[in-house]
């Protein structure tokens, strides 16, 4: 490969949002992830809005993880205003979160990542070659959409979810229907893991700190302390004291790091690395069978795909477990907000998501802060790319280019989110 060479991908397709990539192979590798998705200023215009509008508005940050933004914002608003919710609400939020995480992983694996590994530009051409895989994907996707839609009113930008709880609770028969459907896709989910194993993910060692939310005894998504496999263990309330965010000149997304600690990664792989023991038995044995290597904290970012597929199985198991064991009843939302400030973090499909608000006497937002998983991963993606390029710089240019794209996609980044 000649000197002075450069890899430039002026538009990264099949990721959410608008991004270009420049990798200088010359001398010291320079790398820039140019996130040129135009900024949308959510943190700017949320100021002046009412506490109970925030969830509906921030849902529009992302079309693929609207529930994560909505839930995180509502949790933060509740924290700030002292609104209490019932235990049932927490369970419903968990179901909602899981349904969306599974759906999001499915879309990522089958339509964004899979084409890479089989050499297709996108899903459309693959419909004929992979009819079983595509049918499986649609089957699972429809069930998860059904569950999100049942609880949220619609799967995209739910309408029932407000500070204080849910405006309406589906009829038990409707839950029963989804439960049946969930049971019917168990086998599909396990097959999804095998589909991803078939991808033959590249070997690549890029160690860093794996950060995720954690609770005892549960593979949770909406609550817990922020922990890492290298001993970080802080309360979400202390997020601001530890996490720093700054602007970079070549991107509209901000970068983020934990003060005084190593570079870190969030997402499915990071969750699995921290919470492997809390997986349901079914998921765990499957993980042991197909990919023993995931037991220990894993440092191959390409394996994020595998971690996602295991979360699909895990998510479906969790939903089945919950729906089998409880009934949901109608309840009235009773929310009277007090002034205050507060933040909340959840696990979005792509990793740790943080929202923080200060709300005044009139229930109006005075200040807002949102840090997305892709902002959390910004640094580590760049670092991994650099290492990948210097490790494989002798590769044919086209292959290297594809490998770079695969790596970025493995993180399943959401650039629209990052430039919210």
């Amino acid at each position: 490969m000649g000197r002075g060479a450069k890899i430039e991908i002026d538009y990264l397709a099949r990721v959410e949002g608008e991004t270009a990539l420049t990798v200088e192979l010359d001398g010291a590798p320079l790398l820039q992830l140019k996130i040129f998705e135009p900024p949308r200023f959510f943190e700017g215009f949320l100021v002046g809005r009412k506490y109970n509008e925030v969830g509906d508005i921030v849902s529009r940050i992302c079309g693929i993880c609207p529930i994560s933004h909505m839930t995180t914002a509502i949790l933060a608003v509740e924290k700030a205003t002292g609104i209490q919710v019932s235990e049932q609400t927490t369970v419903l939020r968990h179901l909602l979160a899981v349904s969306q995480i599974v759906a999001s992983h499915l879309v990522h694996l089958y339509t964004l990542a899979m084409p890479d590994y089989y050499g297709y530009p996108g899903i459309t051409g693959m419909l004929e070659r992979f009819p079983d895989e595509m049918a499986r994907f649609i089957r699972m996707k429809n069930v998860m959409n059904h569950l999100s839609g049942l609880i949220g009113g619609r799967p995209l930008h739910p309408v029932t979810h407000l500070p204080g709880g849910f405006t309406s609770i589906p009829h038990p028969d409707e839950f029963g229907g989804v439960l049946e459907e969930l049971r019917s896709i168990r086998a599909d989910a396990e097959q999804a893991v095998r589909d991803v194993v078939d991808f033959q993910l590249p070997e690549f060692f890029a160690p860093c700190e794996n950060v995720a939310l954690n609770t005892e005894n549960r593979y949770s998504f909406n609550e817990g302390r922020i922990v890492s496999d290298r001993g970080l263990d802080i309360s979400v309330d202390d997020y601001d004291a530890h996490f720093k965010e700054w602007e970079v000149p070549y991107a509209f997304a901000k970068q983020s790091a934990i003060a005084g600690r190593n570079i870190f990664r969030v997402g499915a792989l990071a969750r699995l690395s921290n919470k492997f023991d809390e997986l349901a038995d079914r998921t765990k044995s499957l993980a042991h069978e197909v990919c023993a290597g995931l037991r220990e904290p894993n440092h191959n970012p390409f394996n994020n795909n595998l971690a996602q597929s295991l979360e699909i199985v895990e998510g479906i198991e969790q939903c089945i477990g919950i729906l089998e064991s409880r009934v949901f009843e109608e309840e009235e939302i009773d929310a009277s907000p007090e002034p205050g400030a507060g933040g909340a973090a959840t696990e979005a499909p792509r990793g740790l998501l943080y929202h923080w608000y200060r709300i005044n006497r009139k229930g109006v937002v005075e200040q807002a802060k949102i840090v997305t998983p892709t902002a959390h991963n910004f640094l580590v993606i760049e670092r991994d790319l650099k290492e990948l390029v210097s490790e494989r710089r002798d590769l044919d240019r086209g292959k290297l280019r594809l490998l770079c794209e695969q790596l970025v996609r493995a993180y399943d980044p959401c650039f629209s989110c990052s430039v919210h």
Binding site: Y11, A13, R14, E16, G17, E18, P38, P39, R40, F41, E43, G44, F45, V47, G48, R49, K50, E53, D56, I57, S59, R60, I61, C62, G63, I64, P66, V107, T111, P115, P121, G122, I123, T124, G125, L127, M134, I138, K141, N142, N145, G153, R154, P155, L156, H157, V159, T160, L162, T167, S168, E247, P249, R358, N360, K362, V364, E366, Q367, S416
Partner: protein, 262 residues
């Protein structure tokens, strides 16, 4: 339309990409939809593609918030038979246009320290810049209108998009009117239908995500909200969540709210 499948380009501006997802992954007829049309350009869906057209149909998603977007939009218009904004962002400004309530710089400086490299402009709908051939409304765009659009393409007819207020759908669903019965500030009467009166069906008032209905009498509804005890700021907020730049809801935006500076 050239013989064979209609050639479709999907373009995204400032938005959450939810409408693209709705098109590809969320509605019930994923494979049917993809099977009936040829998607020649859609970055979310595939690498490559023919960005410069020509297209039988260009689906435009997102609000226009940058100068370069206007220029690209004009190019698309010139090579496309039917330009259809999809989703509230493209149709009426949607959520991204909430920022129009304040000075651009005020908004910018709340988010970035270095505002010098920002080039954002006021957020506007697609039809403010180019003529369009219909709207698929909704946030995310509605399945019914999407299906109507696809089947109309197949039949070769002008799609009949829903053009009545949410109240009509609400009644067809036999919902009890939440505005009258419970005094919740429902935007249904001035909001274009298509969602199936989703919110009132789920025991909450409509917040207007389908955007303004043509000829909506916003002032009368705002007056009613005022009688119900909503403050001017609260009323204004209801009319600015989806449709800040539109004519229809202007009369409801009685007054800018007192922005709390810190």
């Amino acid at each position: 339309m050239s013989d064979g499948k209609p050639r479709i380009g999907v373009f995204k501006y400032s938005c959450c990409a939810g409408c693209e997802f709705q098109l590809i992954f969320f509605q019930k007829h994923v494979l049917e939809t993809l099977g009936k049309v040829e998607i020649v350009f859609c970055r979310m869906l595939q690498s490559g593609g023919v960005e410069e057209g020509p297209f039988d149909v260009a689906l435009i998603e997102g609000t226009i918030t940058e100068q370069w977007q206007i220029e690209q939009l004009r190019k698309i218009r010139s090579v496309t038979t039917y330009v259809i904004p999809i989703g509230s962002c493209a149709v009426c400004g949607g959520v991204p246009a909430i920022k129009n309530n304040e000075q651009e710089y005020t908004i910018q400086s709340r988010v970035y320290e270095d505002t010098s490299r920002l080039t954002s402009i006021r957020a506007h709908s697609v039809d403010q810049y180019v003529p369009v051939d219909g709207y698929i409304k909704g946030c995310p765009m509605g399945e019914r209108d999407l299906a109507e659009f696809v089947t109309s393409l197949l039949l070769g007819k002008r799609p009949e998009f829903i053009q009545y207020p949410v109240c009509v759908e609400c009644k067809l669903q036999h919902n009890i009117c939440v505005l009258v019965a419970y005094h919740w500030p429902c935007m249904g009467p001035v909001t274009n239908a298509g969602c199936g009166a989703l919110c009132p069906s789920h025991d909450r008032e409509c917040y207007g995500c389908w955007g303004p209905m043509k000829n909506a009498h916003a002032r009368a509804l705002a007056n009613r909200f005022a009688k119900m005890g909503l403050s001017e700021e609260d009323i204004c907020r209801r009319f600015t969540e989806f449709g800040e730049p539109t004519v229809e809801w202007k009369p409801g935006q009685v007054r800018r709210w007192d922005v709390v500076q810190k």
